[in-house]
Subunit: 354 residues, 2 copies
């Protein structure tokens, strides 16, 4: 049984400010002598939730690999609005980007765990977006990356979709501009409801898969049991919003764009690249081998975006579409058949690139 560990960075610069003692939560699986797989969390996940893809019969086998899972900043385990002391608590928590997360994770790997090379960075959804950042930011360190139902840049439609749940939460009667004394139950339950219809394909609903073979009696029953509670009570409202901001800021071609640090005092690795804002050129320069797995029916990370991104990476990346009506959730462990397909494609990718 893996334990969650906490790495203290001390003073650590994020895009929107500096935390006096930033913390990254992580878990490790397997022998540190084996090739390393880095596997960051997705939206609405705790670090333990990544275990759906870890096991001897899963995509990532701890008998063969040294697997390190990371909690994203703002997930409630790594530094987040809910666990950071004044003056960076709650609504005062600074903006965080994927590059901040990747830098923090890199620090844990190199300073604490002695990792000198990463065999593969893999992730689902926000985790998949992070995998792109890893490939761009650490070309000499990352050999492979896998992006499941994610993208290198959050598309305008994806941004717009996120504005819906966000509007439901920030205008809710108990959110109080983030200054609630008790977690915003109504806001978070509304957030879940406004999120729900985006998570699966239309045909998944058409065949009433939400009834879960008789577990629920109606759409509303399912919404109440699975979506009003998908964030409440286990996630803090300010955390949910901060994590959403990281998602919305994603654009791997715009590294360090959101940093408030004076450009003249930034370390070398934080220099803005010449290809700033040019996604095609940024992806064209990626050295790591990529496996990009969108779901056919994903409503907010549609396969069209993945196709364009794979084309930009030329022969370095492979596109494999998960043929599923589970929409985005196809990559999140909701459907065993899809999870097994992703496992098999992952193993094939490892064989063919090793």
């Amino acid at each position: 049984m893996a334990q969650t560990k906490f790495f203290h960075h001390g003073r650590f610069a994020l895009a929107g400010g500096v935390l006096p003692d930033a913390v990254t939560a992580y878990r490790t699986y397997g022998d540190p002598k084996n090739p390393c797989i880095v596997f960051p969390t997705c939206y609405g996940a705790k670090v333990a939730d990544n275990e759906y893809m870890i096991g001897s019969d899963k995509a990532f086998n701890p008998d063969q690999f040294y697997i390190v899972t990371f909690a994203l900043f703002s997930n409630g385990e790594s530094s987040s609005p809910s666990n950071t002391p004044t003056p960076y608590n709650g609504p005062y928590f600074p903006a965080v980007t994927y590059e901040d997360n990747a830098r923090a994770q890199y620090a844990v790997l190199t300073k604490e765990l002695g990792v000198t090379k990463v065999y593969c960075v893999a992730g689902f959804s926000m985790g998949g977006q992070q995998a792109y950042y890893w490939a761009v930011m650490y070309p000499e360190f990352v050999e492979r990356f896998i992006c499941i139902c994610g993208s290198a840049r959050t598309s305008p439609h994806n941004q717009c979709f996120l504005e819906g749940p966000k509007a439901a939460l920030v205008n809710a009667v108990d959110f109080k501009d983030g200054h609630y004394e008790k977690n915003a139950e109504r806001g978070l339950r509304a957030f879940g409801r406004a999120y729900s219809a985006w998570a699966y394909g239309q045909s998944w609903f058409r065949r009433k898969a939400y009834l879960k073979n008789g577990m629920y009696t109606s759409l509303d029953d399912w919404l109440r049991a699975e979506w009003e509670t998908s964030f409440y009570p286990q996630f803090d409202a300010n955390d949910v919003l901060s994590l959403l901001r990281t998602w919305q800021l994603a654009d791997v071609s715009k590294l360090y764009a959101h940093s408030t640090m004076d450009p003249s005092t930034r370390p070398g690795y934080m220099k803005v690249p010449d290809t700033f804002g040019d996604l095609h050129a940024t992806l064209g320069a990626v050295k790591a081998k990529g496996l990009i797995m969108p779901s056919r029916t994903d409503l907010y990370f549609p396969p069209e975006d993945s196709t364009a991104e794979v084309d930009a990476m030329k022969s370095n990346a492979t596109l494999v579409v998960v043929e599923s009506d589970w929409g985005h959730i196809a990559g999140g462990g909701g459907c065993e058949e899809d999870t097994n397909f992703i496992r098999d494609q992952t193993h094939k990718f490892f064989r063919e690139t090793s």
Copy 2:
């Protein structure tokens, strides 16, 4: 210039109760001696908004047809929470179904306007759903119907999508369980934001069509100008919710299911049909000729649902998919090319069935 007229029904039974003096708002265009086209409103529309399809160069030519446009109950012009006196005001307004709307519109046509046969009932979105109801409820009266971006039954996914904007509104700080003294601005603006990403196809966003050729500078700029204001201030929050309930209750195979009237006292035309709940059989019995025009990229009335419904109607109905990336809005007048395509297909349908 057409004027809005108001028909007073007197005491009128709706699904959820009886209004002492129900009102239907409508407009007429053209000569009453010409064949009659009935054209009810969609969600978030006033009766005048239907003019985007009325004109000598439009789908419905007032030189050839007698066109009657109807405001749906709860749109703020026909009887609605916002304009109904105590005891049925605001949150106390009874539930309304499409069958109530069709019955009310039928009364206006036959009692006030002397119409004895309808050449075509046509509508977009909720208006298109109403067209299905007309065809099922008045088989001897309706010769043709056109459903643009609508369906005969609100699918589970469509229901679920609607729960998002609804949750944003009903949990908003100024909604106050419908007992606001001033229209719920924050709730309605959140409602608009939670609705926005559903209205267009993903590729419409990908090509940044929301910037409207330089009219806006960012996604947020467009959201503020076009979506936060799509319901506020011109629509009342309780109206918006009541109309949404009509939409969610749509199932043309379940006529009178929601009526609170004692079945033994219902008039003959309100008897529940033998095919209750059987959409395939209900549609199979439709006599009117149907033209069903979904948009290829409509996220909540996807063409798959229309295909199944057209199949059920056999040779009586024709499916024509609008090939557009404007999503649902393709049918709502947002894109001139799509509007013209729908016009041309409408004229073709009229020629081939006359």
